[in-house]
Amino acid sequence: MSKKTIVNFKLNGASTDVMVEPRELLIHTLRDKLSITGPHIGCETSHCGACTVDIDGASVKSCTVLTVQCEGSELLTIEGFAKGGVLHPLQEGFTQEHGLQCGFCTPGMITRAYRLLQENPSPTEEDIRFWMAGNLCRCTGYQNIVKAIQYAAAKMRGETVTTSHPLMAELSA
C-alpha cells in the first residue's frame, strides 16, 4: 500500500475532495467512495464502455484512468444529466425508443451519446453506430439505441419528436 493523496475535481457541478491511493482507478473511487454507482464495471479492459464518464469534454472509460489523473478536472456522470426533475432528451429518448433492457450499459451509453451530440448535433445512423462502437450492449442489438439517439438529437434541435412505438398501434391495427 502506498501513501494516500487528496484529489479535487468537479463532479456533476460540485467541487469534490477524495482521498485515494495513487493506484486507485477512477471507477472504484466513483462507485466505492463517492456513491456514484451509475457507471458500471463490465470488463476492466476498456472494451465495454459501461464505465464511461465525461472528463473535460471527452468520453473516458473510467476503469482505465487513475483518479489522481483527474485533479482539477470536470467530470460528468449519468447522475448529472437530469436537471430539476426534468430528464435529459437522451434519457427520454432511451425510454421512448426502448433503447435499454437490463440497463447495465445504459449510463455509459447515454454518457457517450451525450458527447456525440455535443460534437455532432445531426448524426446519421452510420455516424451513431461508429461513435457508439466503444460501448457494448448485450440486450438490445443497438437498433433501438440508434433510434433513441436520433430521437434525442431531434429534440435537442428543437424538432417535434414521437416514439416509434405508439401505445395502441397493434391494438388499433
Binding site: 464495471i41 472494451h47 425510454t95 433492457q101 440497463g103 448485450r138 442489438g141 416514439t163 401505445l167
Partner: protein, 800 residues
Amino acid sequence: MDQNVENQGRLEKLEGIGCSRKRREDPRFIQGKGNYVDDIKLPGMLFAVMVRSPYAHAKINSIDTSKAKAYPGVHAVLTAEDLKPLKLHWMPTLAGDVQAVLADGHVSFQNQEVAFVVADDRYIAADAAELVEVDYEELPVIVDPFKALAPDAPVIRPDLDGKDVGAHGARKHHNHIFNWQIGDKDKTDRAFSDAEVTVAQDMHYPRVHHCPLETCGSVASYDAIRGDLTVWITSQAPHVVRTVVGMLSSIPESKIRIISPDIGGGFGNKVGVYPGYVCAIVASIVLGRPVKWIESRSENLTTTAFARDYWMSGELAADKNGRIKALRVNVTADHGAFDACADPTKWPAGMFHVCTGSYDIPNAHVSVDGVYTNKFPGGVAYRCSFRVTEAVYLVERMIDVLAQKLGIDKAEIRKRNFIKHEQFPYLTPLGLEFDSGNYLPALDKVLDAVDYKALRAEQAQKRADPNCPTLMGIGITTFTEIVGAGPSKSCDILGIGMFDSCEIRVHPDGSAIARMGTISQGQGHQTTYAQIIASESGIAASQIAVEEGDTSTAPYGLGTYGSRSTPVAGAAVARASRKIREKARKIAAHLLEVSPDDLEFDLDQFKVKGNPAKTKSMKEIAWAAYNNVPEGMEMGLEAVDYYDPPNFTFPFGAYLCVLDVTKKTGETKVRRFYALDDCGTRINPMIIEGQIHGGLTEGFAVAMGQELPYDEQGNVLGGTLMDYFLPTSMETPHWETDFTVTPSPHHPIGAKGVAESPHVGSIPCFSSAMVDAFAHLGTTHFNMPYNSYRVWQHAQSLGI
C-alpha cells in the same frame, strides 16, 4: 361521448395486453439509479478475491496462506481445509454431480477455485491473493472429449474413482458421465435400411459463453445474533438458491433471505450456484461481517458456466422427393471437469429431443454421451431452453444437407416436411406433444416479404460470373422451440416441480402489488406482468407495482430462464388476476343488489346486463372489499396462484438471411435478416421487438465469432473481451421483424414466450446462409464461428 372513443380512452388508461407500454424499469436505469449487486454497500462490508489455478490439471501438494494472512487489512484466507469441517468443500450440482467449492488437493481445469481471500477492500484482497503460495504438480491434460474416452486417458475426476454408476445411469469409462437415449432405435435403424436416400453430417457447436455485461457476484451478510443469513446475488432463480443454500448450510430456509437485485443480463449464465457465492457465505458466517465477492470479466468468461460444446453427428433417411422418414443423432457432449449443467433433473441432455423440429418425421433416435474434460464446468443454456439451440441447429442443418443432396430448394423441402396445421396437437417420435403451430403461412409470408425468387435469381447470376468478387448466400430456418419448463410430471429441479407463482394484493384505493417467483434480467417483467393483470382484472397497469427477486416477500418460484416467465409465471399472473376478478364480481353484485350472474366484466368495471348505466368500477369494488362485503365473505381482495403447466409451449418462426462474402478476404456482410416470430398472444409489441433484436444479435455473435478455444495445455484462449467476440454497433446488422399469431391452446392467455426464439432460430440461419454461399462448390457444412479468417480459409480450401 361517443362510445368507441370512450372505450378507446379506457383501454389506453388500462394499458393492458397488446399495448406498447413504456417500461416501468426505465426511470431508474436511465438515471443511474439501478441497484445491481456491486452497488450494494453494507456497514463493515469486506471484499473477497478468488485465488485460481494457473494449471488445467494438477495435484496440489500444499497451500501456504501465511503471507497472505499476515498482509495488513486481510481478514481471512479460506482453503478446502477450512471448509472441510463444515462439509462445504464440495457441493452438489443441479446435474447430480458434485463440484469442488475450493480445490481439494486436485485441480481439473484452468482457473479452478483454490483459495478465497477476504480483506478490507478489493485492492488489498487482490494484493494478498498474489501472496497465497500453492505447490502444484502438473498432470497430463485432456481438452478433447474423444481423447478423454481413450482407455489410457488420464483420470480427470479422481474423486469418482470406482463409481461405475452416475446420476444418469452407468458410466462406461472413468471420464464418461452418462449415456442418454430416447426414441425407437430399431424402427429408426430399419427406416434407414429401407430408405431411398440417406445423408450424414458431423458438426461441432463450439463452446461459447453468455457474457452478460454484468459479471456474477454476491454479498453475503450473516447476523449471528438473529441467526439470519441474507444474500444479495445475481441469480436468475433466487428461490432455488435459497433451497440449495439451506441444503448446504443446514440453516432452515426460513432463516435465509436471497435477494436478486437488478441483474445486468443473465442469458442462462446466472442460474447456478457458484463457488464464490458459497465462499462469501462461509466467510460472512465465520467473520460476522458482510462479504462481497464480484467476478472479474476473465473469471466470468473462464470459470462460470459455459454453453454448448456439442459434437453432433446427424443422419436423415428420406425418399427421393425429400420426404423425411427418420432422424438419427449421436452426440458427444463435452461437459468440462464437473457436470454442472442446469437441466431439469430427469433430462441430462435437456430438451434436446425437440430435435425433430417443425417436421413430420415418423422415426427418430437420439443418443448423447456426456464426457469429462479439463475444461471449466457448465453446459448450461445460453438464451435458450436446455440444449434447444443445439437441437434446432442439428435439424435445421440436416434438412439443408438433404435438400442439397436431392437438389431441392431449401424452402420447398421444408414445406414438404412441415407438420401440417391440422395435425396439431402433434406427438413427435421422441415423445413431445407440440400444442400448436402453423408453419406454412409463416414461411410463405417471409418468402414474399423478401422476394425469394428474385434473390435466388440474383444468386444464380453471381454464381455464373467468375469475376464476381463476392459470394451470395441465402439462409432459411423454420424452427420450433420448446419453452416454459415445465410440467411437474416431467420437470423438477432438486425435486421441486417447475411450477411458478404469483400473489396479488389489491389495496383499498384500488392500486395493487403483485409478487412473482421469477426475476427479470432486462425482460421488463415489471411492465408486462402489470399488463396481464390490467387486462384480466381491470386495474390500470399504472396502478400496479410488480415485485420480484426477494425470497422473503415473493411466493416460491423456479425463476427466469428457458423463456419460462411468460408461459409459466405469466399464466399464474393471469389466473391470480381472474381470482381477483371473480371475488370482485361478487362484491359488485352485493353493492348493486343483483346476482353475480347478472353482471358482465367490462374492461375496468362490472356492469349490469341490460342496464349498462348501473356499474361498479374496480376502484369502487376495491374500497368496498375493505368495508362492505357480502355476508360470509372474507374481507380483503387478494389472490395467490401456483401454476403447474400441463405442457410446454412451442413458439416457432421462419427466418431468412442474405449474406455477401468477399472471396479474397472472407469478410461477411449481413445484407438482410428477416425474422418472423410466432409467440402466440403478444403482450407488449415494443418489448417483443426488443427481445427479438437482442436474441438475433446474440445469435449473430455466436455464428460469426464467439468461441472459447483451448490449447493442448488446457489454457483457455478466449478469456477477455480482447479475444471473446461481442458485436459492437458497427458489426451488428439491421434487423427486420414480423409476426404471426398462433395462440397456445393450453395457456390462459395463449402466450408462449419469445426472448430465446431469435437466438435459437438465427444461428442455424446464419450457418444455412454461409454454407449456401459455398454450396455450388460442394460445401454441405462447415463449423462456426464464421470469422473472416475461418471463412477465408474455407474459400482457400476450395481454390477460390
